[in-house]
């Protein structure tokens, strides 16, 4: 490259460019802060996580998360740190251990047990009901026509 060209390039660089907008974007750290903050509860504001909360404590907690990410801590380590300071309460959902398992499985347990009882009851009822004389299924369109007749009559 000739010296002249280098100079030209340098001169070009020194010409003030028209003021263009600086594009701001989230860094990976920002995204990680958000992901962690969304799983931790703001202890002063009740039922809000520290990402959504505007409370000073939540703000400081976000700061702590950021500092710890900068120190190279992983998501799990940071969550564990908050857990060790505030207890289970800081997590947005009951941790899955001990008696808490109950609340995690309760909905499905209820569904299964309820479904089982219901199934048993219904089949029981069906057995006790005298079966109506079986009729050949009428084709669907006839059925629909009958419905219309009925509806038009009423």
């Amino acid at each position: 490259m000739s010296i002249r060209l280098t100079w030209c390039l340098a001169a070009l660089l020194m010409i003030p460019l028209p003021l263009s907008a600086a594009v701001q974007d989230e860094t990976d750290v920002d995204i990680q802060v958000r992901e962690i903050a969304k799983t931790l509860r703001c202890t002063v504001c009740q039922t809000e996580n520290i990402w959504e909360s505007g409370a000073p404590l939540a703000q400081q907690m976000r700061g702590v998360i950021r500092d710890r990410i900068a120190l190279g801590h992983s998501t799990e380590e940071i969550r564990a740190y908050f857990l060790s300071r505030y207890g289970d309460y800081i997590l947005m959902e009951p941790p899955k251990h001990g008696v808490n398992w109950l609340i995690w499985v309760a909905p499905f347990l209820l569904l299964v047990i309820g479904g089982f009882f219901l199934y048993k009851e219904v089949t029981h009822w069906v057995r006790d009901t005298p079966t109506p004389p079986s009729q050949p299924e009428p084709p669907l369109d006839d059925e629909a026509r009958k419905r219309i007749e009925r509806e038009l009559k009423s």
Partner: protein
């Protein structure tokens, strides 16, 4: 002076509620219709007197009479007029008065509307409604009076909580309370059925429109609350599984189960005890919700400041009502051996039962989740949070199950369905669901919830559309008209069925909105100076300037953001960071740009002194469908209520 008139008339209303109860008992004992008539008069007068009480409070707010403690706590000389009226129900005392006022309106309406047709029920209705009014009026007059004076008179009021200074808050509490209180009418009829032993289908048919109306109000109330949270709390979401939100959601779930279950009793005369149980649970949950919100047992962003004494009173009152109701149910239930006839497991009545199971499990899940922290704290000194991650995880499967049942229920015949008819009705919807899932997958949607949701929504929607299309066509053929006239004819011929289907479609639209805006929400938070820009989705936001603006009772820093799509400037968004003068409370006012598919939601939560603003952009795809679906649901219910009465009803 005016406020004392209001106070006095509320006290008289309390006395009259005692009279109402007494006249109900006397009417039943003496069988003298004059007692019922005077009971009706008492209920009507209670309505008038509580109306005076409400108006006196409204008046105190309008003239900004800060010598009234409640006004001083919830208003301010600079509070815009629009909100001074809404401030009447901005606090615990006033909202309680609104509650009981709405109750008196509904009681009066019910007594006069059903006087002729249901003379035997009237004493019970008067008695039950008077008792509930009595309980709430005692609470208002002795423990939370909005009529108290404040001396010395402060120069200015403390102002209404800035978060409540929002148009949605004007309508949200009344709608919600109309929902809660509306269920008291079917509840009263159910109690009448239990006490009198007249346990037929009568009470269900009579209260059907009441139940639907209450359900519609509750739905609207909940959705308005969501809308308020969406643009007032500034985090871009509309539902946080907060205890107070849950308190309104639980009666909704059981109330919905009830609305479906009564259809079985109407048609097949089964499940009498079950329906009584459901309506008692629905209304009980409304009352328990009131207790949870106002007793300080649970904390929530919305709960009122409270003291244990008040909580204890509400607990005793609520416990008495619920205890009597369930006691009557248990005592009567032996008599209620309704013979169940079931022809097949695959029949509409059986689908309704499973629908009920799912709704009740959903309600139990919310109930358990809301109370779990309390249970754990009582049993062992531990505390946990049950937040959105829990509910989202456990609720989704239940909701999908319900949607699936919604697709098949209406198209399975009563009594017994044959495999052939099932194939005919559901093969196309099942296939359509699969096609949609494939299409979604190809277009890059791989989220399991979105795909599962897409499948059941398509399935249920297709079932409705196919059935209605077929019937409309037949009508069109028969009448020799076009398909639109045909569908209109089909709709009016069986308005009850198709209005319900319209409500179902509303639910589907709502679900699409929820799934899309939850799973595919994009969020970005950046720090920027004037002149900087950031990109979110297809949009580019440039912070043009930050300036000061002032409203009547607040000052704000407003960020002016130019929104570009490609190179085109499409709009300007102006989110604010407000400080309300009286309380020095900051709020974040969001700015929303509605695209055809969703929302571009922007807030500016912070502006530092050296001019660095924090901007938070959220893209909420299809979020408008949430409320659009709500409107369709409401429309369906209205058409259902307004349907012409048929002979057999």
């Amino acid at each position: 002076m005016i406020i004392e008139i209001g106070h006095f008339s509320t006290i008289v209303a309390l006395v009259l509620s005692v009279f109402g109860m007494a006249s109900a008992v006397l009417a039943l004992q003496t069988r003298n219709p004059d007692w019922a008539r005077s009971g009706r008069m008492a209920i009507t007068l209670i309505f008038v007197l509580l109306g005076v009480g409400m108006l006196s409070l409204v008046y105190a707010f309008i003239i900004r009479d800060f010598s009234v403690l409640y006004v001083a706590n919830n208003s301010n000389s600079k509070l815009p007029f629009f909100y001074t009226v809404a401030a009447v129900w901005g606090g615990h005392e006033g909202s309680l008065l609104l509650w009981v006022f709405i109750l008196s309106v509904f009681s009066t309406l019910a007594v006069w509307l059903h006087w002729r047709t249901q003379p035997a029920i009237m004493p019970y209705l008067i008695g039950v409604e008077s008792a509930i009014i009595f309980g709430f009026l005692c609470l208002i007059i002795f423990l939370s009076s909005p009529f108290e004076r404040l001396l010395p008179v402060p120069l200015d009021g403390k102002d209404l909580n800035p978060l409540l200074q929002d148009p949605a808050m004007v309508m949200h509490p009344p709608m919600l309370y109309m929902g809660y209180v509306g269920f008291s009418i079917p509840f009263s009829f159910a109690m009448a059925a239990l006490f009198s032993g007249r346990l037929g289908e009568e009470w269900i048919k009579v209260t059907q429109r009441w139940s639907m109306f209450a359900w519609m109000c509750l739905t609207t109330g909940i959705l308005l609350g969501g809308y308020w949270a969406y643009y007032e709390l500034g985090w871009g979401g509309y539902w946080g599984w907060d205890p107070v939100e849950n308190a309104s959601f639980m009666p909704w779930l059981v109330g919905t189960a009830y609305l479906h279950s009564v259809l079985v009793q109407e048609k097949r005369k089964m499940f009498k005890v079950w329906n009584l149980f459901l309506i008692i649970v629905t209304f009980s949950l409304s009352l328990i919700g009131t207790f949870l919100v106002r007793s300080g047992v649970l904390t929530s962003v919305h709960s009122f400041a409270t003291d244990p004494e008040r909580g204890l009173y509400i607990l005793i009152f609520v416990g008495t009502v619920i205890g009597i109701a369930f006691g009557a149910l248990i005592l009567r239930s032996n008599k209620l051996k309704s013979q169940v006839e079931m022809d097949s497991l695959i029949s509409r009545e059986s689908i309704f039962l499973f629908n009920n199971l799912f709704f009740l499990v959903a309600a139990a899940t919310v109930f358990l989740g809301t109370l779990y922290p309390l249970i754990l704290e009582t049993l062992q000194d531990a505390k946990v949070t049950v937040g959105p991650p829990y509910y989202n995880a456990v609720f989704m499967p239940i909701a999908l199950g319900l949607l699936f049942l919604m697709g098949i229920g209406p198209y399975i015949p009563w009594r017994k369905a044959s495999v052939a008819s099932l194939k005919k009705s559901f093969s196309t919807p099942l296939l359509a669901g699969a096609v949609i899932v494939a299409l979604l997958f190809v277009t890059g949607i791989h989220n399991l919830y979105a795909l599962a949701g897409g499948y059941v929504v398509t399935f249920a929607g297709m079932a409705i559309v196919l059935d209605f299309g077929k019937i409309s066509q037949l009508y069109a053929q028969r009448n020799g008209s076009n398909i639109f006239q045909g569908s209109l004819a089909a709709f009016t011929a069986n308005q009850r069925r198709y209005a319900s289907m319209l409500t179902h479609i509303g639910v589907l639209v709502l679900v699409v909105g929820i799934i899309a805006s939850t799973v595919y929400q994009t969020e970005k938070v950046v720090s920027m100076r004037v002149g900087d820009e950031f990109e979110i989705g297809d949009y580019r936001m440039k912070l043009a300037k930050i300036h000061e603006v002032a409203g009547g009772n607040w000052n704000a820093q407003e960020g002016v953001f130019q929104v570009f799509k490609g190179e085109d400037l499409i709009t300007e968004l102006r989110p604010q960071k407000r400080i309300y003068s009286a309380t020095q409370t900051p709020t974040t006012e969001s700015a929303i740009y509605a695209t055809n598919m969703g929302h571009v939601f922007l807030t500016m939560p912070e502006v530092s002194e050296d001019g660095v603003a924090v901007a938070r952009g959220v893209l909420n795809p299809l979020v408008l469908w949430v409320w659009g679906g709500g409107v369709i649901m409401g429309l369906g219910v209205i058409l259902n209520i307004l349907r012409p009465r048929k002979k057999e009803e």
